[in-house]
């Protein structure tokens, strides 16, 4: 199984590969969450949900259920 944003550890970075579902909200793309971009997990709330991300300098928070749809390749 491929890794998703939800499997990142705090401070860890990855590159967004693709979305495992067509229904990814357009707003997320517009806010900079695009394939090829680097994503870092900055912080999580208790139970790792929501997740506070830094995607190429764009800071945003998404829920775990959405994070599970975004496939990544861990880089460090």
């Amino acid at each position: 199984m491929s890794q998703t944003i939800a499997s990142l550890k705090k401070g860890q970075k990855g590159i967004i590969k693709q979305f495992s579902h067509d229904d990814i909200p357009l707003k997320l793309l517009e806010m900079g969450c695009l394939p090829g971009n680097e994503v870092e997990l900055v912080q999580t709330a208790p139970f790792r949900d929501p997740m506070y991300l830094n995607i190429n300098g764009s800071h945003l928070a998404i829920r775990k259920e959405t994070a599970l749809l975004i496939e990544i390749e861990v880089v460090e």
Binding site: L26, K27, E30, Q43, T44, A45, Y52, G57, L60
Partner: protein, 699 residues
């Protein structure tokens, strides 16, 4: 006289768009509503050099032209309708230098509509600190536009921006991204069907469900035989379009934007390490809440006492200097106490909006959303419900409107339904006066003021009740909806004094003039009802008293007896007596009954009503509180406002849906009378039962 230049300010949220607006217009601005909907419309006049003027429209913040909310629809609707009187001669896209990439997405979309578009890069003062440098000339060339480097904080670049607005005709209207590359065949057929329209404009019409005047989606289908695609295909194309735009932007930024990371100081991550911490984050949040309530209760009591006694004095004074008669009595017993009941709210409302706008301006509010999302979701709410619930402590109306950025319909509906339980500022005067009457002004453990603790408990009760009913609604309501949740975590910023001040003044003003009108009108009606009566008893009150008591009374006692007979036999007295059986089990007399009925329209009327009722016929200069404390319970004896009836009243006001404006706004936001009706029946029912139980147990 030359025509005013129509300017539309557009930008992502958190780019300081409003600060730029405030600088351009100064205090020359007004806030209204777009016709038919409740989205705030901010516009103002900007004086330009050489005697020119511009009409500036501050459009709601949006991330793109692919609208997903009502606020965002406003932006597209305006930009697609050339016949709108506000259609811009020039658009100014305000962007944040640190989030330039994301901000440029919106810029390219607007540029592609063929509107002259200026790019204002705000927060230029942060560039040094963040190690950012820009090649403006190259960027202007690639984006085919003019750029103003602005710092709303340091007030730089505003004059340059004004010059660009004057010279807007020199800006190219050529599109910068060719969106048709995402599906060449599809766009080709579109171009053939509508040779005279801008392609990107057509594309926006196709992908949105809204009507834009003569151009709408169904029309497109019928008139041309042109077939639009399936929704899922369109969505995929929109995603593709976004990617194409970002590729274009990345190309430009590679050439023009450099960031020296070693020069950057990272305040954000240091603050976030504490403020979004899994433990400390919550401690700090609750600490801030505690501070806010303590401050509202403590600090605003001084101006409020002053206002209260000033109006008592004014009423007395007007009686002395004006010739006695019906007119004077309308002023001193109707209008002045009524006005006092409005003005007394100002300190608390101002403090509350001060804190809310500080939290929002600083960027902290997004952290609260982040921290609370998981917890709120258990109750069927969203982290974004926290902002409406906190704003609900000011007023439910803006709070209901603030639910618009909750993407999920079920979460949004539940938030709207439970927001009125939070303790709005209109409840505050009711709480304050009752607490002052029935809770001793003593300290608990030597530090905490008992009255302050009671107030805080009431706020927690309101909040608890909204969360509890959300939990129930979440179980009952069968609404299927796809949930998703995205929130931007903006950089921390020191709030700008000017923005905070304008916000506080604006919100307070809209309360005073909005709610104030209702309160004043009701005060006058009440005075009329209390000053006239249908029966002989009312007209002959003097005679009845002198027959009953003879000469044994002092003039003052005589006067008081007359006044109380008159009040009892006035129209309002009869109405009050009529509903007394209903409110007696709650520990109230007919006067409180009247106050409850009249405050159905708006809670804040309660204190004003009692002020009016008790000042009819009273001769002495007394504050409302003194008069209420002197009331006795006609049946049980003892003071009318005692612990049991006081708690019962507090609970009644905590739960009852006593605000017509909220019902109206809920109807508008949910587009159905079903939800406001449900609120009215359930909330008032809960209020009656709770007040009844409290009085029967405590009496």
């Amino acid at each position: 006289m030359p025509k005013q230049i129509n300017v539309a300010l557009i930008g992502n949220p958190n780019t300081g768009k409003t600060s730029v607006f405030n600088h351009l217009t100064g205090l020359n601005q007004q806030v209204g509503n777009y016709p038919g909907i409740t989205v705030e419309k901010k516009e103002g006049i900007c004086k330009l050099p050489r005697g020119l003027k511009a009409h500036i429209l501050d459009l709601p913040g949006t991330y793109s032209l692919n609208a997903s909310s009502l606020d965002e629809n406003i932006v597209i609707e305006l930009l697609l309708n050339k016949n709108d009187k506000d259609y811009p001669d020039v658009a100014v896209v305000v962007s944040d230098v640190e989030n330039l990439k994301r901000n440029l997405l919106l810029f390219t979309q607007i540029k592609d509509l063929g509107i002259p578009t200026i790019l204002a890069i705000n927060m230029a003062d942060r560039m040094d600190r963040k190690g950012i440098s820009l090649d403006i000339a190259r960027m202007e060339e690639r984006l085919k536009t003019k750029i103003a480097l602005v710092s709303a904080r340091k007030k730089t670049g505003i004059e340059e921006l004004k010059e660009l607005i004057i010279n807007h005709r020199q800006i190219s209207t050529e599109p910068c991204v060719n969106a048709s590359t995402i599906a060449p065949d599809y766009f080709d057929s579109l171009r053939k069907a509508f040779p005279n329209q801008s392609l990107y404009k057509l594309w926006l019409v196709i992908t949105h469900d809204v009507n834009f005047g003569s151009l709408n989606r169904n029309n497109l289908d019928k008139t041309s035989g042109f077939k639009t695609k399936e929704k899922t295909d369109l969505k995929r194309l929109q995603q593709k379009e976004t990617i194409v735009r970002y590729q274009f932007i990345n190309g430009i930024l590679k050439e023009t934007f450099t960031k020296d990371i070693s020069a950057a100081t990272d305040l954000r991550s240091k603050l976030d390490r504490v403020l979004t911490h899994q433990v400390w984050g919550y401690f700090i949040f609750f600490g801030i809440l505690l501070l806010i309530f303590q401050a509202i209760y403590d600090w605003s009591s001084y101006p409020m006492d002053l206002i209260d006694s000033t109006f008592a004095f004014l009423g007395e004074w007007s009686k002395e200097i004006l010739p006695s008669g019906m007119f004077t009595s309308l002023i001193s017993e109707g209008i002045i106490p009524g006005l006092g009941g409005i003005v007394i709210f100002i300190p608390q409302i101002a403090f509350l909006f001060l804190f809310i706008s500080l939290l929002e301006e600083s960027g902290y509010m997004s952290r609260v959303v982040f921290l609370m999302d998981r917890i709120m979701r258990r109750f069927g709410l969203s982290g974004k419900s926290v902002v409406p619930l906190v704003s609900g402590t000011a007023c439910a109306i803006p709070a209901v409107m603030a639910t618009r950025n909750i993407e999920d319909w079920k979460e949004r509906l539940i938030t709207i339904l439970v927001v009125p339980f939070t303790t709005c500022s209109a409840r505050l005067p009711v709480y304050l006066i009752i607490i002052a009457l029935v809770i001793p002004d003593e300290r608990f453990l030597g530090i905490f003021n008992l009255q302050g603790i009671t107030l805080m408990l009431l706020y927690m009760l309101g909040f608890g009740m909204s969360v509890f009913s959300a939990w129930i609604l979440n179980k009952i309501l069968k609404i299927k909806s796809k949930t998703y949740f995205v929130i931007e975590m903006p950089d921390y910023k020191l709030p700008l004094f000017k923005n905070v001040a304008i916000n506080v003044v604006e919100k307070t003003k809209s309360f005073v003039f909005g709610a104030g009108k209702i309160i004043l009108a009701i005060s006058i009606i009440l005075w009329v009802l209390a000053s006239y009566g249908p029966t002989e008893k009312f007209d002959n009150a003097e005679k009845i008293v002198s027959e009953q008591y003879g000469e044994s009374l002092t003039p003052e006692e005589f006067h008081n007896h007359v006044a109380s007979i008159k009040l009892e036999n006035s129209y309002i007295g009869m109405m009050g007596k009529g509903i007394e059986p209903i409110v007696r089990p709650l520990g109230y007399d007919w006067k409180i009954g009247i106050a409850i009925v009249s405050s159905f329209a708006a809670r804040e009327v309660f204190v004003g009503t009692l002020a009016t009722i008790y000042s009819v016929g009273s001769d002495e200069e007394k504050t409302i509180k003194d008069r209420m404390a002197a009331e006795t319970n006609p049946i049980l004896g003892g003071p009318l406002f005692n612990f049991a009836s006081g708690i019962s009243l507090l609970l009644f006001y905590a739960f009852a849906m006593q605000c017509m404006s909220t019902l109206a706004i809920v109807k508008r936001e949910t587009n159905s009378w079903k939800w406001p009706a449900l609120q009215l029946v359930l909330m008032s029912g809960i209020a009656y039962i709770a007040a009844f139980a409290a009085f029967q147990i405590l009496k």
